[in-house]
């Protein structure tokens, strides 16, 4: 049993340029280097934040850990399982909330969506229903059981996405901007829920992608700042925030990716 819930070593990802089949002048398309040698260790029971501007590679890293993307080089392990060689075991170990909380059939109710994913997660039918009821109450969606997802607000979809991630009780949660589109009050409630329920009560490890350093300070034990596919700074969010404050030396601000 490894100590780290997530372990990443020298991870790179390069996307091949798209080939234009119908082009009269076929040219070798440029390759896009999105991750350049990422090293990362997230101990069990920690909330780790990934920060950085758009295009810095945060979501790509999360997608590799979720086995949706294959890395070009390097290694990544989740709960001790290699994301390439042992992808099915990684899928058992994670709950993934994609950005924008997409991935539900809008024509079905939230409950029916969750039941579908519970069955897909190999839960027997009776157990699936019980588990859906449990996570439904856990994420605070009471009262919306019979509404179709098309009528859900952004906040409700986020809760539904987290409920789906928790269905099979995985030890690791990968959350891509879970408070995107939420108002400040809802965001605060959401962060408190993640910290108090998911981590302290249920003992989950969370890797959280966010743009917001203040949000990272509020919820994360540690955070890393990514820029152009590299981790340029990491440590407790309060330290990163201090270094990023206006008035600090340009060198200190540059070290955390601002200024």
């Amino acid at each position: 049993m490894t100590l780290s819930a997530i372990s990443v070593a020298n991870l790179t990802k390069t996307f091949p340029g798209s080939v234009r089949v119908m082009s009269f002048r076929p040219a070798r398309p440029p390759r896009i280097e999105v991750l350049r040698g990422i090293d990362l260790e997230v101990p069990r029971g920690e909330v780790f934040g990934l920060l950085g501007p758009n295009g810095s590679g945060k979501t790509t890293l999360l997608e590799i850990l979720a086995t949706h993307l294959l890395p070009t080089n390097g290694h990544a392990k989740v709960n001790g399982h290699d994301v390439v060689r042992d992808a099915p075991a990684v899928r058992h170990a994670i709950g993934y909330c994609p950005g924008g909380a997409v991935g539900f059939d809008p024509r079905l109710t939230g409950k029916r969506n969750l039941e579908f994913f519970a069955l897909l997660g190999d839960l027997p039918r009776v157990q699936a229903r019980e588990r859906v009821t449990e996570v439904w109450e856990l994420v605070g969606l009471d009262g919306f059981r019979d509404n179709t997802v098309v009528h859900y607000s952004d906040g409700m979809r986020q809760r539904l996405a987290l409920a789906r991630a928790l269905l099979t009780d995985p030890p690791v949660l990968l959350l891509d901007e879970p408070t995107r589109g939420l108002d400040p009050e809802a965001s605060a409630l959401w962060r408190r829920f993640l910290r108090e329920r998911a981590v302290e009560e249920l003992g989950k490890t969370i890797l959280l992608v966010t743009h917001d350093l203040l949000e990272a300070e509020d919820i994360c034990d540690r955070a890393a700042i990514m820029q152009r596919g590299r981790i340029v700074a990491d440590g407790p969010p309060s330290e990163l925030l201090r270094a990023a404050r206006p008035g600090r030396s340009p060198r200190a601000r540059a070290a955390v990716g601002v200024g």
């Binding site: 091949p16 089949v21 993307l69 099915p88 993934y96 897909l120 099979t168």
Partner: protein, 241 residues
Amino acid sequence: MNIGLTVATYLFVSRLVPSETLAQWGPAQEGYFPFVLIGMAMNGAMLSALTGLTHSLQLQKAFGMLKPLLLGRSQPEAVLLFSSLYPLARAGVDLMVYLLVGWVVGGVSLTGANVPAAVVTACLAIVAFGSLGIVTAALSLLFHCGTPLLWAIGSASWLLGGVLYPQPLLPRPLRWAAQLFPFTHAIQGVRAALLDGASLGDLIFPILVLTGFSLIMIPLGVLAFNIGLSRARVRGTLAEC
């Protein structure tokens, strides 16, 4: 509704085609309407089986559901198999609805039909086109271009398959080309079983063609689908429509 309107349209068209005209090109004791009804029914069922999985994949991509589906504990092959079942069942139901509407609207009687032979041939045809549907779905994952192939197959089945007219009507090169496509054998087989009471023994050639086609296309489709998934994971195109 769509099936009902289509059948009604061809009922009126069939009044323009005297049985004697059809008889010049092959056996047609029952007239043009039963002939075209079975052609339409088989064509509709085969196209449902062919396009169902690709449409289902496109819908899942549009809803962003493909990634969560693949994160489940089931193997991608199992997801693929179960996603294929609905289009296949739908194809079978479409076929029966065509025949039922033909009976209600056009009074088509299939009293002399060899139902077991027709069912076996129709099921094999649906499975054969479902397996071809897996290949086109894999192409849509690989190149985002499964749909033009579906159009091409759909159009070829109209032209060559003998849906609306007997195949002897076609020029010789097209008749030869038609023999290369499984829908030709499927339509001829089911038509012979339902209209002429052909037995399983009589239909051994179309049955062998459809079985052989499925045996080749199913593993090929699963292989292509897995390659498509791997490439999408390399290129980051898993969620692209």
